[in-house]
């Protein structure tokens, strides 16, 4: 079974961490993944850097740009990941924009993902209907789960549609924002989290965007299966060595 599905069955709230592959240094990718696994993180999103990350705030834009400057490419990412399944067993998801994947070739990309042991993909600018029409069979053939986003503005009807074409979890964007805005969660978010929880969707939700510490993690996971931390982790990496990763995770989980 796909590792994501197995993980979602566990009776606990899941912590997923996002980072940009090739940042801070080109060859940090596998070391970061291994440190995250040893720190008891539940799932990892590996960011495939892109020159024009539309849905990202300054922190991830910067790490993405730096990774590209470091010489990061799609091919190199697969090269770095080729032995990752010898040391890492938690679910690994690649999060990237559609153009680099399109240039690599969607089929070739999915095949490579399967070979190195990637379990799922998050492609923010690949719309659900285009995925459904053109790429679903390719993804499924390579045992990849495609994860869709919903936001506070997504209509109930569309949430139901997205739920119907999902087969893992739904990425619930916490607020109307790009990544990295962390003003904390207020009344509006709680109402939204509750509203989605009350919809009794077939797929669990994992909340992302704006989660930066224990408090926001707890708030987000009160009504959902887990939460994803991105910008806050990248800021941490900017200031601390990879060896310090367990401290970052501990501060959130304990």
């Amino acid at each position: 079974m796909n590792r994501i599905l197995t993980k979602l069955k566990e009776e606990k709230k899941l912590l997923s961490i996002y980072f940009s592959a090739g940042y801070p240094n080109r060859n940090d990718t596998t070391s970061i993944i291994e440190h995250l696994e040893h720190s008891d993180v539940d799932m990892i999103e590996i960011g495939l850097p892109f020159s024009d990350p539309l849905a990202d705030g300054p922190t991830i834009q910067e790490s993405s740009t730096q990774a590209l400057k470091n010489g990061m490419t799609t091919e190199l990412l697969f090269e770095q990941l080729k032995d990752i399944r010898k040391t890492v067993s938690i679910p690994l998801i690649i999060m990237g924009y559609f153009n680099p994947i399109l240039q690599y070739g969607v089929e070739a990309f999915c095949k490579k993902c399967e070979e190195v042991g990637i379990d799922g993909l998050i492609i923010p600018d690949l719309p659900a209907d285009v995925y459904h029409r053109e790429y679903k069979t390719i993804f499924e053939h390579h045992n990849l789960i495609n994860v869709f986003l919903i936001t506070p503005q997504t209509s109930e009807q569309r949430i139901r549609y997205i739920d119907s074409i999902s087969n893992g979890f739904i990425y619930m964007v916490s607020s109307a924002s790009v990544t990295g805005s962390n003003s904390g969660f207020g009344e509006a978010q709680t109402t939204y989290f509750k509203r989605i929880a009350n919809m009794n969707l077939n797929n669990p939700t994992i909340v992302g965007f704006g989660i930066s510490d224990k408090q926001t993690f707890t708030q987000a996971t009160t009504y959902s299966k887990g939460a994803i931390i991105g910008s806050a982790f990248i800021k941490f990496l900017k200031q601390h060595s990879i060896a310090k990763i367990p401290e970052f995770v501990k501060a959130i989980k304990n």
Partner: protein, 397 residues
């Protein structure tokens, strides 16, 4: 009649294989709302009335179709200039911003955002926001803010806030990214006025329809002057492609009309400093649209170069990608030097100082021979006032 709509958009939002809406879910409600409503709104009698009234009384339309006698003699063909340079604010851009501000009003939006490169679209947007009393925020690359000080001042004087785009290469593509991020952050009260026939569906089609007034007028103006609605050639420069889309629009499916799209070759197509997107680009996704764009083998979008700030966009609208791919339009690339020479030539033969963007289109007369009997329409997309410093530096005036 069976040919109708082959070159125009289909009901799924694609021109052939190009177009669509490759947008993050955060933008879906806004783009979907626009997609559902734009045609109905544009077709309302009250919308049409207000749009046409403003184009007439405020923009100064119809823009003249002028027979350029001396230019025609020089190049031994019959050249008509479509004078978009005479529009209020000095370019074709305002046709689109008038249309979109009315669209924003119909949608109940109160806050306007836009991207700009050279500042022409920013000025045209700030202008209509002043006209309608709407809040206006224009994103502009930090590098372009430095290069285009007079237009920055114009926007401020018109009451707009100019926000620098500090990411990436700090030029037009990054300003567009910032505008899109703003829209994600402000999903309910904001309308994004895109400045060309780019972006996710329905923008390319909506902008093309607002610019289509150009060829609509050409048809009756030419009929008046030559007894025919149909020229042999229509020439326009292409950045994102909006003035060309407008000049081509009513001729798209009339294959008797040769459409010539002119891109900026910068220092030479293969110099590494060029913006000849169709020729150098490959199929991909930029700003929500599947089209041709300049990119690395790895799918990273690259920075174009042209002396003309209005042409250095790494993509091209999906309509033009389709016109290129199908061979419906002829695509030519013109270098900085060729354009500057042609700009000077028009100034001295006809007393019209063109925008450097337009000068690229004019350079076609030095590259391609037309028959003496041919009727050639050239769309003068804008005037050269904004480019004076460039002309001064180039010609050491």
């Amino acid at each position: 009649m069976t040919e109708i709509m082959i070159y125009n958009i289909n009901d799924k939002g694609y021109y052939g294989e190009f177009g669509g809406a490759y947008i993050p879910e955060m933008l879906y409600p806004n783009v979907e709302e626009l997609s559902q409503k734009y045609l109905a709104i544009m077709n309302e009698a009250s919308f049409q009335k207000e749009f046409n009234q403003l184009l007439k009384d405020y923009v100064g339309r119809p823009s003249p179709l002028y027979f350029a006698k001396r230019l025609s003699e020089k190049h031994n063909t019959k050249i008509y200039l479509k004078r978009e340079d005479l529009n209020h604010t000095g370019a074709h851009k305002v046709n689109n911003t008038i249309g979109q501000i009315l669209m924003a009003k119909s949608l109940g939006k109160t806050r306007i955002i836009a991207e700009t490169g050279a500042g022409q679209h920013g000025v045209a947007t700030a202008t209509v926001c002043a006209l309608m009393g709407m809040q206006c925020i224009v994103y502009m690359g930090a590098v372009d803010i430095e290069r285009q000080a007079p237009n920055v001042a114009r926007m401020k004087m018109l009451g707009a806030e100019v926000r620098p785009a500090l990411s990436g290469s700090k030029t037009l593509k990054d300003a567009t990214n910032e505008a899109i991020r703003d829209w994600i952050n402000n999903p309910t009260n904001t309308h994004y006025i895109i400045g060309s026939v780019v972006g996710p569906h329905p923008y390319p089609d909506m902008v093309a329809r607002f610019q289509a007034v150009i060829s609509e007028e050409i048809k009756w103006q030419l009929k008046d002057k030559e007894g025919t609605e149909t020229p042999d050639h229509v020439i326009a420069c292409v950045g994102g492609g909006s003035n060309a889309a407008g000049a081509f629009y009513h001729y798209l499916d009339d294959t008797n009309v040769n459409l010539i799209a002119v891109e900026a070759a910068g220092k030479g197509i293969h110099s590494g400093e060029s913006a000849a997107t169709s020729i150098l680009g490959r199929e991909g996704i930029i700003h929500g649209s599947k089209t041709l764009l300049m990119q690395t083998n790895d799918g990273q979008i690259t920075e174009p170069y042209s002396i003309s700030a209005g042409l250095d966009y790494p993509g091209v609208g999906p309509m033009h990608a389709h016109l290129y791919k199908t061979g419906r339009a002829e695509f030519l690339a013109v270098t900085d030097d060729e354009a500057m020479t042609a700009g000077l030539e028009l100034s001295q033969l006809e007393g019209i100082i063109p925008a450097i963007e337009t000068a690229h289109a004019l350079a076609v007369f030095d590259k391609k021979a037309f028959k003496a009997s041919d009727i050639v329409i050239l769309n003068v997309s804008g005037r050269g006032d904004k480019d004076l410093q460039n002309y001064i530096d180039y010609f050491k005036l």
